[in-house]
Symmetry: C2
Subunit: 209 residues, 2 copies
């Protein structure tokens, strides 16, 4: 049996898009099963028992002769798909430096830029809890700081790591190119804007649904 | 010139300890340069210009005949040190699954458990901003949820990934074993307690400063 890959996803999620973009760049077939996170479809007893006890998408399901396995965490799923490919540099420092930007994405970028997009674009400011509303300014400042760091970094090179397009670019592209849906204007970050153009011009690129 | 490794650190940081524990388990010599994050020593113009524009420790400095390079992000620095060693499984799924728990650590665990430890143990509740104080309950709930997931996972196996001690254990051990400093009682998580004992019994283990 050849490997069969299924992505458990919500198409509005940038974390899910990372995995679809990685698969597309590598020419890997990927089936999808869709959930509506707004309706709590990833918190059902069935999802928690069989797909991800953490109640989150994306999850990459991998089926082969060894059985069925589930891999949560978007950047880990991208790593699985890209193992042995050009999307992961083989040099020791370059590989670690690529991971550095992927951890930066999950720690400094996603919790600010993706969360504000979710709150403002999908939930709507009027429906936020007081605790969420109190965090908007801090997340705005931290998100701008993450974009500033990326912009300064891209002023010194075309790609985030290893001097070429890698998983670090995919991980950061996902929520950066739609940051305006979270109220982040990209016009202040000219190097990011040109990098977005470069990513979108790559052979095999697919846009977010 | 052989490689010379210097860790830019604050010894109170669990993120810095991850790198020291990785180096110790591998028998790698590691020099340290210490900063006091409470005094803003990682936000000076010199630090920002030469060590990390993100103003954060840890940063692993690597010097060899090719010059001097800086690697921020604790889990990326651990990856660099452990490349080619037993601390990173070579199987495709096992490697991605190890990274899955390292991304989980940075996204679900550290921002709750490490942040509450920093706020309550080092800054002190009386000195928090109103915005920080309003987040305590949410971070308490999310931190307990991360510990519950770890405990359930460790009920089914001795280690976090690949059936043996890997970087995933190091990454999660750092702030878990001192979670009580953030007000998290570990007595509700018996599998975590036994896993902490197993880690501390490993040859080469070094305690946090």
């Amino acid at each position: 049996m050849t490997e069969r890959l299924t992505l458990h996803e919500d198409p509005r999620s940038g974390n899910c898009y990372k995995i679809k973009l990685t698969a597309a760049m590598l020419g890997l077939p990927l089936e999808t099963r869709q959930y509506d996170i707004m309706l709590g479809e990833t918190r059902t007893p069935e999802f928690l028992a069989h797909v991800n006890r953490n109640g989150r998408i994306p999850v990459l399901q991998i089926e082969d002769s060894g059985g069925q396995r589930f891999l949560p965490e978007s950047n880990a799923a991208c790593w699985y798909l890209a193992t042995g490919s050009e999307l992961i540099p083989s040099g020791r420092f370059e590989q670690a430096d690529m991971l550095r930007w992927m951890f930066f994405e999950q720690y400094n970028h996603e919790p600010n830029i993706a969360t504000l997009r979710f709150w403002l674009h999908f939930i709507g400011e009027a429906h936020l809890t007081p605790q969420q509303r109190d965090q908007i300014v801090a997340k705005r400042v931290a998100g701008c700081e993450a974009l500033r760091l990326m912009d300064e970094h891209l002023a010194r090179g075309e790609w985030m790591a290893a001097g070429r397009f890698t998983l670090a670019d995919i991980a950061l592209f996902a929520y950066t190119h739609i940051a305006e849906e979270g109220g982040f204007g990209l016009e202040d970050y000219p190097h990011i804007c040109r990098w977005i153009d470069r990513v979108q011009a790559l052979p095999g690129f697919v846009p977010m649904a």
